[in-house]
């Protein structure tokens, strides 16, 4: 690492922020290559969470007393942090959810009642690279509403086929919801092309940024979409808090989803009226500590320089990819022209789960399985892959350890 280069990360310094990395697994240094599942957390996040419980432990919004005022100020302050992170000006467009899964369920269950609602035969378009979180909610709602789920196919390289998009997008298309980066094989999708076509027919556009938010700058304005969502726990934040951003003009017109305290204006047994955006969508006591921790995580990520993080990770992924490709009996899955997040591969004659166990024995934490992308696995004719995914703290030594652990697997199955 060119520690002196102002454009490159000082990874050694970064690693000190992550106490979770500082441990041995089966007698080896932990090599964490599973950030796509959930990231390690920096000390700043742990301290933010802890300080909520130690100093400002109170419920938000409804309290007049000091602790509640402090908790409310910190909680609501995170909306502004998120707004800054996304480059938007109105922090009332920021809704806190548990993560992408909850966001997608919220969207499916509210958009279906927006204006004239979903009509039988209306279409919802997703992609064949998508995570189950962007498939199952639309399936469930389609069963109820009679909408038809369409899927942008992908080629053998693991890239979406966008040459005949007009086959998939038409006047019937009500929603186009796609993933930014594939968590299973690392493809960065050409969302500009997809959303441009979607806008032509007036479809609502949704970006699943679960695997782009931690790795690159994302700006809903530049992307020009209607909704964008990411999970805090994959973006160096605590479990329990994620973000749904949406255009206020749409959010205002959408009905609420969950009912309960905090999301109402008035309640009587005859009828209730609802609070304003974003509170209308946040029923009940939110995950106050996790949201405050998420604020600390996004500030931490920003302070590292998101462009620097991106280019550092891209370099590592390129090294992993080319090293794996040079090994006999190793098959890298997909060959996307733009890659982020991870490299997926298989080993001849070795099931990924056996590989994962042996690699773990060498201290290397990777993931083996379908990565919640079963339809993609089926398309690629694979039951499972081995996935190495990177975070800002990974370095060349981690890449070496990964390759050595792959060798160890091959020795055992030689």
């Amino acid at each position: 690492m060119n520690a002196g280069d102002p454009m490159s990360l000082n990874v050694h310094e970064i690693q000190k922020h992550f106490p979770g990395l500082n441990q041995q697994v089966h007698g080896h240094r932990l090599v964490y290559l599973d950030s796509a599942a959930t990231t390690q957390k920096p000390v700043a996040v742990m301290e933010a969470v802890d300080s909520v419980y130690r100093q400002d432990c109170a419920n938000v919004h409804r309290g007049v007393h000091t602790l509640s005022e402090r908790a409310t100020a910190r909680f609501e302050g995170v909306r502004k942090v998120v707004a800054g992170f996304l480059g938007i000006s109105d922090s009332r467009e920021v809704i806190f959810t548990r993560g992408v899964t909850e966001s997608m369920n919220l969207l499916a269950n509210t958009l279906c009642h927006l204006d004239s609602g979903f009509q039988p035969g209306d279409e919802i378009l997703i992609s064949s690279l998508d995570h189950h979180a962007n498939i199952v909610p639309w399936q469930l709602i389609s069963e109820k509403m009679g909408t038809v789920l369409k899927v942008i196919p992908c080629d053998d390289a693991g890239e979406l086929i966008l040459s005949d998009l007009d086959q998939w997008i038409s006047e019937k298309t009500r929603v186009v919801s796609v993933g930014h980066v594939s968590n299973a094989i690392g493809t960065v999708n050409d969302i500009d092309t997809i959303f441009a076509e979607a806008r032509k027919v007036g479809a609502i556009t949704i970006l699943d940024a679960a695997q782009s938010a931690p790795h690159m700058s994302i700006s809903p304005k530049e992307i020009d979409c209607d909704f964008l969502t990411f999970s805090g726990h994959k973006t160096y934040g605590p479990t329990g808090a994620g973000v749904l951003w949406g255009k206020k003009e749409l959010l205002d017109r959408m009905p609420p989803w969950q009912g309960g305290g905090d999301m109402i204006r008035t309640v009587s047994f005859e009828e209730s009226s609802f609070a304003e955006t974003p509170w209308k969508f946040e029923a009940g006591t939110p995950d106050i500590a996790a949201v405050i921790g998420l604020g600390a995580a996004l500030e931490f990520l920003d302070s590292m320089g998101r462009d620097k993080v991106c280019s550092h990770e891209t370099r590592l992924l390129q090294k992993i990819e080319s090293a794996l490709k040079s090994m006999d009996g190793v098959n890298v899955v997909g060959e996307p022209s733009l890659r982020a997040c991870c490299v997926s591969f298989t080993l001849d004659g070795v099931h990924p789960h056996d590989a994962a166990t042996i690699m773990d024995q060498n201290g290397v934490a990777i993931r083996a399985g379908h990565h919640c992308a079963m339809p993609l696995m089926k398309r690629l004719g694979l039951p499972a892959t081995i996935r190495a995914s990177v975070g800002m703290h990974n370095d060349e030594a981690d890449v070496e350890a990964l390759l050595e652990s792959v060798e160890a697997v091959r020795e055992i199955f030689a």
Binding site: V350, H351, H353, D354, T357, Q361, A368, G369, P383, I412
Partner: protein, 150 residues
Amino acid sequence: MSSMRELYQEMIIDHSRSPRNHKKLDHPDLSARGHNPLCGDEIDLEVKRGEDGVLSEIGFEATACAICTASASILTETLKGKSEEDARAIFHRFHSTVTGEVEDPYPSELMKLEVFTGVKDYPSRVKCATLAWHTLIQALDENNGEASTE
């Protein structure tokens, strides 16, 4: 790596590469499908009953990891010719050993099962070692001596 060699012994690698009785049976009396959502392991297991109800033939097809495949393969060898009662008893014995509840060595006729004992140190892999066995028990339970409905 010695503990890995213990888990992935020659016999496991051998059975996973060349599983015994990896085939469909003609007119099976019992059958069941097993699935491990964690790994994606899938197994179809079929049984023919002989006279006195012994398990005269057991066949399986699997898309699964080495431990699961080897365990299914060794199951078919171990239980062939056994009564349903014996098969259930051996399942219990096997299960208690791979989950670490029982530490006694196996009786000599079950010695082949010994290769799975190392699995107890890998909680996420215990299900791989037991999937075929659970599937067999399911076939026995569901059919209770009747022909398979599947």
